[in-house]
Symmetry: D2
Subunit: 351 residues, 4 copies
């Protein structure tokens, strides 16, 4: 049983990490920190975990790096960007393995970080050793990483459907549009008027147009896959569900698809590329037949559903993905990376 | 007080017509039909109208054309496509003014109807006299029309933001993408598993990909505005709200917008085109500043909200619209047409 | 057109007053105050009113009593308890008619106020002139009142079904239980974690057990009706809807109802008492047959629905009421009182 | 690994059984039946299970008793009442252990069944061997039962908080009121207008007044516990959540509680009775301090939360319970019984 700590366990991602790690067969949750709730039993703040035997003695503590490094081999950081790096640096020096759910180590270029996050990167010297924690594409690097930068929720739902096609040269790297719909937990557990029940229920809205922060990591990874600089259009929307992101992608095949014969030919290649990428992946589900992704089929799971359609009327390729923003889009994916890093079965605690 | 009848008043659009017409200052709702509920008081089926004095004596009746033509000068048809035309023909012969909320008279070409609705047009001889009931663009024709084809919910939310730009030559007629999110009432009051509470709540999904029926009327109107055949990409999604459609449009300006100077220049033209089209329109609201449309700001009203952003990173124009699918997207717009046709103030009963 | 002001117009009750008064045929909304939004156009904060011509020039202002007294004949106070009285006193001195939606003037006894609201009553000298603004029972007093204390949301849904039976001696004044379910808008527009979307959605909970503040006014009015001190059990619950309160009341008939014959006899008296009280009331709807109240049939309206059942198995009388907490439970009822006070038709602006 | 079958696996309870049994460490789901979906892969109908390795080969079949008896040692029946008994009889003859989620074997007296379910009991000869599957009270009998009648959702949420107090003589057996709020999944996966999204969302209503079928088993168990015939008042309500039941109970202590001293004395006894009953129970959580049950803390789990308050104003005891109607209220409890019956750890597959 490996010992694990979560720094910043009182937000939605932190709470989801608690859920997953409490029932994980190979780890023991040995510390949870929260400045706000320090000294209080975990089970008082999150009653839904109270029936788990482990929570009888688990209290929130102040985040103390030296203590954390002693209590745990692996430390998850569920902190705001900027703050996460302040903990990552000393934890790495103490020899901890750090899995960071913030944006602090996702970008290779600190200048891009500065552009999108509006402050200097707090630890640029660590960027070289960080691995982007998208297991389907960085599994080998994750196996030996000390610092894993777990991807954002929107990036996961956009990169998984896009990377295999871009790598196979089946879609053009230009003109990509990602239209995403996110549940309200994506906004975090913050006491703001905009996220009150009455402001979100019976409401739908786009937000953050046109330059959302997640664009930085999405475009970084797409550019690496395409071998050329990729700029995309990305529009996030807020919808009244607790969890789940549905992304509809508008893509242009590199080969024309203006009639059903062309579409059939291109379709075979797309199907083959997806199968090659994901047929053996435990957490990517390629839908077949007439089925389309639905967030209710993935919430609570670490699965990302993908389906696609070629439209001969427009020549475009439509791809739709669904994921749980708190699981495959955050905490579940971080646990998946932990499993890989620790040599556990990759699906341990996630099925 | 003009006398009004509603044929097919038991669905969501019919119910919304009842709501609007009961409180309309210039009309009297004299007949409501429903095969399913014939003989039952309106107030028993729709208790929320029971406190209105008029409903004390209003019962659902079987739809009888001769009787309807006697009871009312204006007849609203809130019936499925195919069925609506069967009532429109004899009602017109009796001299009634018909406002049809179905798709039966929206398309000018019966072949397109056949392609999208999968059966022969039931009354092609009437297409010539039908007027597309989008008041912002067909107000003059509506004034004298006997047969008004009220637009679909998605088309309204797509045409209002698009037509002024297309007419002004500010956007390219190619590559238009409309990504729409609709509340569940758009599916109608139908006892189907897919629309059960537990199947829609905490769920988001795309549907009907890639060729939704509403494409036919959208493309017809866009083509007329552009003066060339327009084919668009349209993706409807179902989201867990009762009412409301939010549409995010991805458009390409005809003039490049790859930096802030270019964007500023194009932006002025777009703002001018929208102001020219809508500054005097009572039911189109152009949002300014940082505000973005939110369905909760339009539900229950006949207003369509529009906001736009130019993205110099991609050179694209993003436009977002919000409407209530049952009001501006259906029954409210039909009442607006009635007001125009009857010479009432256009906002009567709709503010 | 009487001039009207709303003090504290940025909360949910204030917003609902704006909605109702903007479309009211006999008044002009001449001032809205909000400390938080002073100087900002009303239409920027509440975009849904932006299409109303009146809002073109309506801005939030700081609450200034002398100015308010000049701008308006009638002033609605939509303020927290304690604060409301501070405005009521000088406004009354300036000759304004004050309709207060807070709890400050609902209780006749300042000691009860102190017990339930945990501070001294801020203006006990005004209690004598305050009229409890429940029109169905205080209509005559409202006609001439300068200070109207509009009832709380829960009290309205409990008193309307209970008072006629108590006055007719048909139920015992002891053992009354009121189990209420309220939408989240009842908690006000407050940035608190408990009312975030993700904390309320897919959640139901009781709160404030066992002594909610509204008990004070409920028991005051029940005691007056019964002619004896009445203590009730009242349990509020929070449910994931924006608006609406459903109350289920457990009552004991004064005459035994242990079999169907007894129940039939008592039932006739109950039906008669309700008819006598409400048959002519425009905003109380007695449901007949098998229908039961449903909040969706009253939201957005000023109607309170009531249905009842005698249960011979237990001898009890069950009564269920439904209302919109923001309309009949707050702002609509306040407008109803204004209509009465000003001699307008009682239903003006409320149908 | 014991082999397990589910008859009627396409409803919400059946689907929840699939979820729980797929991840259960000691069983193998060997057959799932559904007349409607016979021949179709389970993963096509329930995509959320598609990523589980076991579902690769699992198809719905027609329910064939002989085959089921061969395929499985334990058969869960998730069928309508009346139908369940038709399968239970031959399955028992084949030697299967039957865990029935319907009402068919919950009542000891076939006359009571006839009264509440409006048809003759389909297999009265089996009632003698049936065990009521409420593990907290029938654990020993469950260990050896061949026919386990798993309790209804409402009864579970009412009996767990009530039985210990009744057995300890701390509450009167008369005058018990249970006010319950249920999520829509409680109505089953049925294509009926009443359960459409738009009919349930933004709606709350009581239903089935005043004599719900579940009263029969509730009163049977309460009467057994009290040693006298108990008749209760029970009011179910439908609220817009997928899952969860919150029950508020109004009880009368046998010892007076009209002041804080009396309440303190009685409170100690109540606390002791609950602790004695549930301190060692893995699936009953007694809340302490100011916490109150919230369905969001139990959904997806097999836990029932309980909290209580004495109200010296009225002398009453209020108890609130929360459970997931599909887990502790149905499928989870059935699995708990299976665990007991098979000698597995009682929490296996349920933590």
């Amino acid at each position: 049983m490996k010992k694990i700590a979560i720094v910043g366990a009182s937000g939605y991602s932190g709470e989801e990490l608690v859920r997953l790690l409490l029932s994980h067969p190979h780890v023991e949750l040995s510390a949870v920190t929260s400045r706000q709730y320090a000294g209080q039993p975990l089970a008082r703040i999150f009653p839904r975990f109270a029936h788990h035997p482990r929570t009888a003695t688990l209290c929130f503590s102040e985040p103390d790096v030296a203590q954390l490094a002693q209590q745990a081999e692996i430390v998850f950081l569920a902190l705001p960007h900027g703050v996460a790096a302040e903990y990552a640096r000393p934890l790495l020096q103490h020899g901890s393995i750090v899995i960071d759910l913030s944006a602090d180590f996702r970008l290779r270029d600190p200048a891009v970080y500065q552009e999108f996050y509006a402050h200097d990167h707090p630890a640029p010297e660590l960027l070289g050793q960080a691995v982007y924690g998208l297991p389907e594409f960085y599994r080998e690097q994750i196996r030996t990483a000390s610092l894993i930068a777990s991807p954002g929720c929107y990036p996961t739902g956009i990169l998984l459907p896009t990377l295999p096609l871009l790598k196979a040269g089946l879609i053009q790297p230009t003109g990509i549009i990602a239209n995403s719909l996110s549940g309200v937990s994506g906004a975090g557990r913050k006491a703001e008027l905009d996220y009150l029940f009455c402001e979100c229920n019976e409401s739908v809205r786009a937000y953050g147009l046109p330059k959302h922060r997640h664009l930085s990591e999405i475009e970084q990874e797409l550019s690496l896959a395409a071998g050329t600089a990729v700029t995309i259009q990305f529009t996030p929307h807020l919808i009244p569900v607790n969890r789940g992101i549905l992304t509809t992608l508008y893509l242009t095949p590199t080969t024309p698809c203006r009639n059903s014969a062309e579409a059939a030919a291109v379709g075979e290649k797309i199907a083959a590329a997806y199968r090659a990428a994901y047929a053996q992946e435990p957490f990517v589900r390629l839908l077949e037949g007439r089925a389309l992704p639905d967030t209710k089929n993935v919430t609570g799971t670490n699965v990302c559903e993908i389906a696609w359609r070629l439209d001969p009327r427009t020549g475009r390729l439509l791809v739709v993905s669904a994921e749980d923003n708190l699981v495959k889009g955050a905490s579940g994916q971080a646990v998946q990376s932990m499993n890989i890093r620790c040599g556990f079965p990759e699906t341990a605690g996630l099925m």
